[in-house]
């Protein structure tokens, strides 16, 4: 048997000829846009839109009663009509009357009606369904299981007029109406507990500016324009393909290769090369995610044993936490690692909420001498001259737990370890798998950790800062402050926007003073997209937003 060079040449010639003749994979067509997503979605049903990608896709497929967009100048949300043409609040805001459009049809041709709206509220709040909004209808009239009581809540005034009554004493807003309406005629036939796994949750009947076309599992989700939608205009992108590309390097390669048109969460170090290519627009979505160093404010062992709240020996004092914040060179991470795609964080209130943040409040500057003095005032001194501070016989030593697959946090932790050492604090770094980190934080089994929060819009602080640990499981540092609780409670009452903003400023000042965690930096989500796409508006609400206006 022998293989000659001639045979090899012929083999490769034939192979090349065949593949050069194949259709090139290219996204570059005005009729479609390919968006890279890192993992496949679970369902296409807005009831279960737990992930960002699911929410984004559902937003294009299903209409809400009202729609919120971002007002860059005002630094806040603004409301626009969608299924509801107009609305009117009664004098004490205990009810609202909606005038609905009568020209909207589901993708199977059935008209969208008030029955769909009432059904949607009912099904979203039904405990049997376990929708992503279950438990969020606190302003509505509900039973003991938080299920909306439809008979008391809704009054159908005409075929297009619906009155919604809210719970007495509640403070409802239009945000309570901003969720996708689902088709009653599709879901009413399915037992509520089975909706999550029903085939209708994978190939939906829709009402939005786009319709479902195809879902190639683990490959792509394809949606197409809905020419019958009132949002449809000439020039709307015909198809949007959400292509599943799990590997970051592959996403970058495909962007450069024009196999995808848009990708998010780029690493700062890749930006310069993309800029050179000149065929991409690089922009960033600011102020949605911040990294923080979490300190367990209470003694976790005592809490886990008998739920008693005793200050943590190391991190129990606000002054000590302030000192640690001063000993961390956060700017170094912003310049060296984030390459400017981030900014110092002062509190969990993002600078994008222009009227809610106190601009006069300055971040703690990197000052090792001041940090050391502050620690000394709190009784932490290095009496035995071993380089580690002591107080009442305890040395200032602790372990910081971080996720092993996050290079940014590994970089920052190493940097912080070195600067803390200079003020006599010994910090060991423990890298664990993300699931294990979440498990530790969630079960209060970590003294110190580094993680991030993606903040909700509209602003919500109660879920992570309210003192009651039983009702606030996401208060991971177990921060206790009665003054803050009162302010958070007040935010839920009927007060003006201006009053709310004043409260937010007070909350910001308290959290800045107490440093329950060290707020590190807001991290930009760097977005790159092909220049051929016009009209993309990258706002804090997202990138894949208002796609029907893209050209």
């Amino acid at each position: 048997m022998s293989i000659t060079r001639k045979n090899i040449f012929i083999f490769f010639f034939i192979l090349s000829s065949v593949f050069i003749g194949c259709k090139k994979e290219s996204s570059s067509s005005n009729s479609q846009v390919v968006i890279a997503i890192p993992s496949d979605i679970e369902r296409i049903n807005p009831l279960f839109a737990f992930s960002i990608n699911e929410a984004n896709i559902n937003e294009l497929l299903f209409l809400s009663l009202v729609k919120h967009s971002w007002d860059e100048n005002g630094g806040d949300l603004k409301t626009a009509p969608m299924l509801a043409n107009s609305w009117e609040w009664n004098s004490d805001s205990s009810s609202i009357t909606l005038n609905l459009r009568n020209d909207v049809k589901w993708s199977d041709g059935v008209p969208l009606s008030i029955a769909d709206v009432i059904f949607s509220f009912d099904v979203y709040s039904d405990p049997a369904v376990e929708s992503y909004l279950y438990g969020a209808f606190l302003n509505f009239i509900t039973d003991k299981d938080n299920h909306i009581i439809a008979e008391k809540t809704f009054e159908k005034l005409s075929e297009t007029k619906l009155k919604i009554n809210f719970a007495p004493g509640s403070s409802p807003s239009l945000f309570n109406l901003d969720f996708p309406i689902v088709p009653k005629h599709v879901f009413e036939k399915i037992p509520r507990k089975d909706i999550a796994t029903a085939k209708e949750s994978f190939a939906p009947v829709t009402s939005g500016p786009f319709m479902f076309e195809k879902w190639e599992k683990n490959q792509a989700i394809i949606i197409k324009e809905n020419p019958n939608s009132f949002l449809h205009q000439d020039g709307t992108i015909e198809r949007i393909i959400f292509k599943v590309v799990p590997d970051y390097s592959s996403r970058l390669t495909q962007l450069k290769n024009h196999e995808v048109d848009l990708t998010e969460y780029l690493k700062p170090e890749d930006v310069d090369e993309l800029k050179k290519a000149e065929s991409f627009v690089i922009t960033s979505l600011k102020g949605r995610e911040y990294d923080y160093l979490g300190w367990n404010n209470i003694d976790r062992e005592k809490y886990n044993k008998n739920k008693s709240i005793v200050p943590n020996k190391l991190f129990g004092s606000p002054k000590v936490r302030q000192a640690i914040s001063m000993a961390l060179n956060r700017n170094e991470v912003i310049t060296s690692y984030l390459r400017g795609y981030g900014e110092l964080a002062n509190s969990p209130i993002s600078p994008i909420f222009k009227n809610a943040v106190d601009e006069k409040l300055l971040p703690y500057s990197f000052d090792l001498a001041k940090a050391k003095t502050l620690l000394a005032k709190e009784g932490w001194n290095d009496k035995d001259q071993n380089g580690i501070l002591e107080k009442n016989g305890d040395e200032f030593k602790f372990t910081l737990t971080i996720s092993s697959n996050n290079p940014r946090r590994i970089f920052a932790a190493t940097l912080f370890k070195n600067t803390l050492k200079q003020i006599g604090i010994e910090m060991n770094i423990e890298q664990v798998e993300l699931g294990m980190l979440i498990d530790k934080i969630n079960n209060k089994n970590a003294d110190a950790w580094m993680a991030s929060w993606i903040i909700p819009i509209p602003l919500d602080l109660k879920f992570s800062w309210y003192s009651n640990l039983a009702t606030t499981p996401m208060n991971f540092p177990s921060y206790q402050n009665k003054e803050l609780d009162l302010l958070l409670d007040k935010l839920e009452t009927k007060i003006s926007k201006k009053q709310k903003n004043e409260i937010y400023k007070k909350i910001e000042s308290i959290l800045h003073r107490d440093q329950p965690v060290t707020f590190l930096y807001w991290i930009d989500n760097i977005v790159a997209y092909n220049k051929k796409i016009k009209n993309i508006e990258v706002t804090p609400l997202g990138t894949v937003h208002h796609c029907w206006t893209w050209r």
Binding site: M1, S2, I3, S16, V18, F19, C22, K23, K24, E25, V34, S39, E42, R43, F50, P127, E130, Y132, Y134, G135, A136, N146, A196, T197, S201, K214, E216, N218, Q219, A220, I222, I241, K243, V244, V245, P246, D247, S249, S250, T253, Q254, K256, N257, E259, E433, L434, G435, M436, I438, D439, N442, W453, I454, I455, P456, D460, F463, T471, P473, M474
Partner: protein, 329 residues
């Protein structure tokens, strides 16, 4: 050896395999549950109400003891029901059967390239014994073996996809095409899978090359070869009828295990080229604490490894009947 003895031996082997699978799955069932983290973690977000968090936990049966969960699992498993995947919200069997055809075809193709490629190159090297080509292929195979697939994958993508634009960089077919012509569709699949196939094959090809090359050399010096040669049997005949079959025997035993492992998934290649295979499915299931799917994937991989080993043994028995007794026992 009578037929009933062979049948009994196969039954014994089958029963042992089922027992091993059962024990593996039972051990895994407990291990994944006592490992830190649980499937409700991924729902943690500012938008999650405490009420929903409690409901989610109870829907994953996390409020029940591991023993209770295990009993319920065993009862259902005997009816072929391995539960519903926490991530895909569909029966585990359905999710696995969706990726299995691709995995089997892709693995078999890679296996064929590795095996045949290794054999051909070994023959080529052997016929050029101790010449430049032999040395080049031997050293080259070590180099190839040392390059991990995440490096070769990215290298091939850079050269053939980014620079030469000959092949797409990922996926199994052009996304969104509604190709009706089966020939063109097949070509589209081939176009997409060519690079991944090369990358996956490159990891195993040097091993088969080395095995074949080494066995050819060993058998060349064996007494039976010298005897045949002394009796004037032509060199070609000795090689094709004696050396190759004898070399194949031990290599097939290795190939049986190798193919089984390939069927369990080629994670790195699947991730780099965004391929929907068993490897990606299994790892995602582990990362997301999708307990039913982890069990389903492990069981599938176990069954495939047992089957490929059985197939390998049957082939070996066919080649060399002397092995029958040893293998079925």
């Amino acid at each position: 050896m009578n037929r009933s003895f062979i049948a009994l031996s196969f039954f014994k082997r089958g029963a042992t395999s089922v027992l091993i699978l059962f024990l593996t799955v039972s051990l895994l069932f407990v291990l994944v549950r006592i490992a830190p983290g649980d499937p409700s973690q991924k729902y943690l977000s500012p938008n999650l109400s405490p009420q929903l968090f409690e409901k989610v936990k109870s829907s994953f049966q996390l409020d029940k003891s591991i023993a209770e969960q295990y009993i319920s699992f065993v009862k259902n498993a005997f009816t072929g029901d391995f539960g519903v995947s926490y991530k895909y919200h569909r029966p585990v069997n359905e999710v696995i059967f969706e990726v299995l055809p691709f995995t089997i075809i892709f693995s078999l193709s890679a296996f064929a390239v590795q095996f045949v490629g290794g054999l051909v190159l070994a023959l080529w090297a052997f016929h050029n014994h101790k010449k430049f080509l032999d040395k080049f292929l031997s050293r080259g195979s070590i180099l190839l073996y040392a390059v991990p697939s995440f490096v070769s994958g990215l290298f091939f993508v850079y050269i053939f996809s980014v620079q030469l634009k000959l092949f797409p960089s990922s996926g199994i077919k052009t996304v969104g095409t509604l190709e009706e012509n089966i020939f063109l569709l097949g070509l589209d699949y081939l176009h997409h899978l060519f690079l991944p196939l090369v990358v996956l094959s490159l990891t195993g090809l040097p091993i088969y090359f080395k095995y074949f090359r080494q066995h050819f050399e060993e058998h060349q010096e064996k007494l039976y070869t010298i005897y045949l040669r002394a009796n004037g049997v032509a060199e070609n005949k000795i090689f094709s009828r004696h050396i190759i079959p004898n070399s194949l025997n031990s290599i097939i035993a290795y190939a049986g295990v190798d193919l089984g492992i390939l069927f369990s998934g080629a994670l790195i290649t699947e991730v780099i080229f965004s391929l929907p295979g068993m490897g990606r499915l299994t790892v995602n299931a582990i990362l997301e604490h999708d307990y039913p799917l982890i069990i389903g994937c492990t069981l599938t991989a176990g069954v495939l490894i047992i089957l490929t080993n059985l197939a390998a043994d049957l082939i070996r028995m066919k080649i060399d009947k002397r092995l029958i007794k040893g293998l079925i026992n």
